[in-house]
C-alpha cells in the first residue's frame, strides 16, 4: 500500500504547514480517504472545522507518519466521514455545531456540543443568534420487554465533572449506554481566535486541568513548528520532566480511584499519598502543583535548581519504595481482582478502529504511544518501554498504568541525570506571514493533538485541540454492553475520560 506521503501527493500541497504535510483534496478524494480509513489503511487522528473548510488528520501507524487533508467547502457542506467510519461521528457533529459545516449523509444529525443554551448558533461560524432556551434531545431508542431507562447526571453525587449517561437496562443487565456531553463547553477555541500566542498556550493549559502540561506542550510545540523555532535543549528536557510528573500524579490517582470504586479504600488512601507527594514535588520544583503555565512558547518559564533535583530524586526513591507494595496489594486482593478482571472488556478490533490512545488502547493491544511512535524530543534520546496488554478489561487498564508508572519513574531519573545546561527560552517572533503547525503529544490519558494557524502578526487565527477522550468516550459505551449497571462506575473510572477536554 502507498504511504501517507503518496496519498497527500495526490492533493494540492499546502505550503508553510509544519512539521507534517497538509494537502487540499477534492470531495471525491475526501470520500475515498474516508473509505480507506474505515478499511484500516489510516488511523483517524482528528477532524475539525475551519472557516469554509474541514480538516482531517491521518496517521500512518506502521510508518509513524502524520498528514492532514483539507476539503474546501464554500457551500458549507462536506461528505460525511462518519458514514464510512463511525469514530468521526462526534467530531463531525461538533464541527457542525461550532462552524455550521453540514456533513452530508451524517448518520446522526443531532447536535453534540450545542445544547441550545449559548444564545448563538455556530459560534465559530456565522454566529447566528438563537434563543438560549435549550432544546429537547432525543436519546436513541431501545425497545424490548421489561427494558427501563436510568438517567444519571449531569450532576453526580460525587465531585466529578458533569456528563449525562442514559442507561437502558433489563434489571441489572445493561442493554445500551448513551452519553451526552458538552456541559462544560468553555469556548476555548473561540477564545483562542485572535489571541496572542502566549495567551493561547495559557488557554490550552486550561483545557483539561489534569493534563495542563500536556496541553500546553502540544500547543507550544505546534506554534514552534509553525514558526520553525527550536526551544533550547534544557527547556525540551524540563518539559518532558513536567510531562512525566503529570503522568505519575494522574496514574497514582487513577490506580487508587479505580480501587476505591470497588470500595477498596485502602489502595485509594495510599495512592493518594503518592499522588500528593508528586504534586508537592512539582510545587517545590516549578512553583505550581499542576505545573500550569510553566510551559510557554519557545521554552519553559521555570527552571529546576539543585534543591529541586534533590526533591525529584527523593520522590522517585519514595515511589520506588512504596509503590511495589501497593501493586502487590492490588494483585493479591482476591476480592478486588474479582471486580476488575474480565469487567468492561474492550475488544482489540474496536480499539484499533477508534484509534484509541493511552491506557485504553494499550490495554487492548494498540501499541501506540506518541512518545515512541512520533518520537518527539527528548523521548528520542531516552530509554523507555511502551507496555501493551491484550485483555482489554479494567484490570488490564490498571496494569498499563502500573507499568507506565514504572516507566515514568525511570524516565524522570534519566531526565534529571541527563538534563542539559543552557537557556530556558528563546524569543518567539512573528513570521510576517500566515503559518500553520501541529503537534501530537502523549498526555496521561492518550495523545493530544494541537493544530494551529498563526496570522501574519503572530496571533492565533485558528487553534484546534483534540483530546484523546474523543475516541475513548464512544468505546466506553461499547464496553458497557452486557455488563451490569453496578459495574459502570468501575469501567468509567478505568477509562477516566476527560469531560472538560472533550467539551472544550
Amino acid at each position: 500500500m502507498a504511504g501517507l506521503n503518496d496519498l497527500l501527493g495526490q492533493g494540492r500541497r499546502v505550503e508553510r504547514h509544519a512539521p507534517w504535510p497538509r494537502a487540499l483534496v477534492d470531495a471525491a478524494m475526501w470520500e475515498r480517504v474516508a473509505a480507506e480509513i474505515a478499511e484500516g489503511a489510516w488511523t483517524l487522528l482528528g477532524l475539525w472545522g475551519d472557516t469554509g473548510a474541514v480538516h482531517m488528520a491521518l496517521l500512518d501507524e506502521p510508518a509513524g507518519a502524520v498528514g492532514v487533508i483539507t476539503l474546501d467547502c464554500p457551500a458549507g457542506r462536506f461528505p460525511s466521514v462518519a458514514r464510512h467510519h463511525p469514530p468521526a461521528l462526534r467530531l463531525e457533529r461538533a464541527a457542525a455545531d461550532l462552524f455550521g459545516l453540514q456533513p452530508d449523509g451524517l448518520p446522526d444529525p443531532r447536535p453534540w456540543l450545542d445544547h441550545g443554551r449559548w444564545g448563538v448558533r455556530h459560534p465559530l461560524g456565522d454566529r447566528a443568534p438563537a434563543s438560549p432556551d435549550g432544546q429537547a434531545y432525543p436519546f436513541l431508542a431501545s425497545e424490548g420487554e421489561s427494558l427501563h431507562q436510568i438517567p444519571v447526571g449531569p450532576v453526580h453525587a460525587g465531585i466529578i465533572e458533569p456528563g449525562h449517561f442514559r442507561f437502558t437496562a433489563n434489571g441489572e443487565t445493561m442493554v445500551r449506554l448513551e452519553e451526552r456531553l458538552g456541559y462544560v463547553h468553555k469556548g476555548i477555541e473561540g477564545l483562542m481566535a485572535g489571541a496572542g500566542l502566549d495567551h493561547a498556550v495559557r488557554l490550552a493549559g486550561r483545557t483539561s486541568g489534569d493534563s495542563s502540561v500536556a496541553y500546553a506542550l502540544a500547543a507550544a510545540r505546534a506554534a514552534e513548528a509553525a514558526l520553525a523555532i527550536a526551544p533550547p535543549p534544557r527547556a525540551v528536557w524540563l518539559r518532558a520532566l513536567m510531562a512525566e510528573l503529570e503522568r505519575l500524579a494522574n496514574h497514582f490517582g487513577d490506580v487508587g480511584a479505580v480501587c476505591n470504586d470497588a470500595a477498596f479504600a485502602l489502595m485509594h488512601a495510599h495512592c493518594g499519598i503518592l499522588r500528593e507527594r508528586v504534586l508537592r514535588a512539582a510545587d517545590a520544583c516549578f512553583g505550581h502543583r499542576l505545573m500550569r503555565d510553566r510551559i510557554v512558547p519557545g521554552g519553559v518559564a521555570a527552571d529546576l535548581d539543585e534543591a529541586g533535583t534533590r526533591e525529584i530524586r527523593a520522590l522517585v526513591a519514595e515511589a520506588r519504595r512504596h509503590f511495589p507494595a501497593l501493586v502487590r496489594l492490588y494483585d493479591g486482593t482476591a476480592s478486588l481482582q474479582d471486580r476488575t478482571v474480565g469487567t468492561g472488556t474492550l475488544r482489540p478490533a474496536l480499539a484499533r478502529l477508534y484509534g484509541a490512545g493511552g491506557h485504553v488502547g494499550r490495554a487492548s493491544g494498540r501499541a501506540f504511544d506518541a512518545r515512541r511512535a512520533l518520537a518527539y524530543p527528548p523521548y528520542d534520546a531516552l530509554a523507555f518501554e511502551v507496555p501493551v496488554l491484550q485483555e482489554g478489561d479494567v484490570n488490564a487498564r490498571v496494569w498499563i498504568r502500573i507499568r507506565e508508572v514504572e516507566q515514568s519513574l525511570s524516565l524522570v531519573e534519566q531526565i534529571v541525570a541527563g538534563l542539559p545546561a543552557g537557556a530556558l527560552r528563546v524569543a518567539v517572533t512573528p513570521a510576517d506571514e500566515p503559518r500553520e503547525g501541529m503537534a501530537v503529544v502523549e498526555a496521561f490519558r492518550g495523545d493530544v493533538l494541537a493544530w494551529l494557524r498563526l496570522a501574519a502578526d503572530g496571533t492565533v487565527a485558528r487553534c484546534h485541540l483534540r483530546d484523546a477522550s474523543w475516541f475513548q468516550w464512544p468505546l466506553l459505551e461499547a464496553v458497557i454492553e452486557g455488563n451490569i449497571v453496578a459495574d459502570f462506575p468501575l469501567c468509567n473510572k478505568s477509562f477516566n475520560c476527560s469531560y472538560s477536554g472533550h467539551d472544550l
Partner: protein, 316 residues
C-alpha cells in the same frame, strides 16, 4: 416492679443512645486504618441533630407511605434492638424477646423501606429496592435457620433463655454453633449494608443499595432512617454478643450492682466488634452485585448444615 421497669427503660435508652456512637466509632477506626484523621466519634449525633433541624423536602410524587415509612422503620428497628439483651437478660419484657419476633420486626422495617424506595418512582429508588429485596430473599431464610439451630440447642427461641444456655457449661464445643456464628456474621454484614455487600460511604449512585433507597429522603425523615440504620448495626453486634459471647451479662436477680459491670462489658464487646468490622471492611473490596447471592447462599448453607447436624447428632 418499678425497678424492673426502670432497668428495661435503661436498656431501651441505652441502645438508642449508643447506636450512633458505634457507627461513629467504626467510621473513626476505618479512617485511622486509611491514615486519615476521620470525623469525630460523636459526628453521627451532630449529623442527626442537623438533619432534625432541617426542612424535610418531599418529592412531588410521594404518597403518605413515603412520609410514614421512616417512623415505622425507626420504631420497628428500635423495638427489635431493645429486645436483644445487652447488659442483662431476663428483663421485664424479655418474654417478648423472641428471635423470630426480631427477624420479623427487621423484615417489616425492610419491607417498608423497599416500598418507600419505590414510592417516589425514581430509577435509583427502584434499583435500590430491587437489590435490597434480592439480598433479603436470601438473608432472611438464613437468619431463620440460624435461629432454628439455636432453638434446637437451647430449647427456646427466647433470647434470654438462649443466652443463659450459651453461658452455661453444658453447651460445649459444637460444630453447628460455629457454623451458625459464621452464618450470622455474614447475614449481619449483608443486613447492615456493609462492605463487601454494600458500601455505606459510596458516592456512586449506580452501585448503592441502601443509600439508593433513601436518596430522596431529607431532614427528619432521613434522621429517622439514619438512626434506624445505626440501631440495626448495634442490634446485629448485640445479637452476636448476646448469643455467642454471653459472658458478663448481669445474672437475673444479681441486684443493681451487677448492672454497671454488665454495661461496661457490653461496651467492651461493642468496641471489639467495631474494630473487627472496620478491619474486615478495610481488607476487602466490594463484591459484584451478582456475587451477593453466592455470599448469602453460603450463609444459608452453613445455617442449614448447622441445623441438620443437630438432627444427625445431638452432640455436634
Amino acid at each position: 416492679m418499678i425497678a424492673d421497669l426502670l432497668v428495661q427503660g435503661i436498656q431501651m435508652l441505652l441502645v438508642l443512645l449508643l447506636a450512633p456512637l458505634l457507627t461513629g466509632f467504626v467510621r473513626k477506626v476505618k479512617a485511622r486504618l486509611l491514615r486519615r484523621r476521620g470525623p469525630p466519634v460523636l459526628q453521627p449525633y451532630r449529623d442527626l441533630l442537623r438533619l432534625l433541624r432541617k426542612e424535610a423536602v418531599v418529592a412531588d410524587g410521594a404518597s403518605w407511605l413515603f412520609r410514614v415509612a421512616p417512623y415505622l422503620i425507626f420504631a420497628a428497628t428500635w423495638v427489635a434492638a431493645a429486645l436483644v439483651p445487652t447488659f442483662a437478660p431476663g428483663l421485664l419484657f424479655s418474654w417478648t424477646a423472641d428471635l423470630i419476633a426480631i427477624v420479623a420486626l427487621l423484615g417489616s422495617a425492610r419491607f417498608m423501606l423497599a416500598l418507600a424506595g419505590m414510592d417516589v418512582g425514581t430509577s435509583f429508588g427502584g434499583i435500590g429496592s430491587s437489590r435490597e429485596v434480592m439480598i433479603a430473599a436470601l438473608a432472611e431464610p438464613a437468619l431463620l435457620l440460624i435461629v432454628f439451630t439455636l432453638a434446637l440447642l437451647a430449647g427456646s427461641t427466647q433470647l434470654s433463655t438462649v443466652a443463659g444456655f450459651m453461658a452455661s457449661p453444658e453447651v460445649g464445643l459444637r460444630v453447628s454453633l460455629g457454623m451458625a456464628l459464621i452464618a450470622l456474621v455474614m447475614v449481619a454484614i449483608a443486613e447492615n449494608g456493609r462492605v463487601p455487600v454494600d458500601n455505606p460511604a459510596t458516592h456512586l449512585e449506580l452501585t448503592m443499595v441502601h443509600e439508593a433507597m433513601v436518596l430522596e429522603y431529607s431532614g427528619r425523615h432521613l434522621a429517622m432512617i439514619e438512626l434506624a440504620a445505626a440501631l440495626k448495626l448495634l442490634l446485629s453486634v448485640s445479637l452476636v454478643g448476646c448469643v455467642f459471647v454471653p459472658w458478663g451479662l448481669a445474672a437475673p436477680g444479681a441486684g443493681a450492682a451487677a448492672y454497671p459491670q454488665g454495661i461496661a462489658l457490653y461496651l467492651a464487646k461493642l468496641a471489639a466488634a467495631g474494630v473487627l468490622l472496620a478491619l474486615f471492611e478495610t481488607a476487602i473490596a466490594k463484591m459484584r452485585v451478582f456475587r451477593v447471592p453466592d455470599f448469602l447462599g453460603a450463609a444459608l448453607m452453613l445455617a442449614l448444615l448447622g441445623t441438620l447436624l443437630l438432627f444427625v447428632s445431638r452432640s455436634l
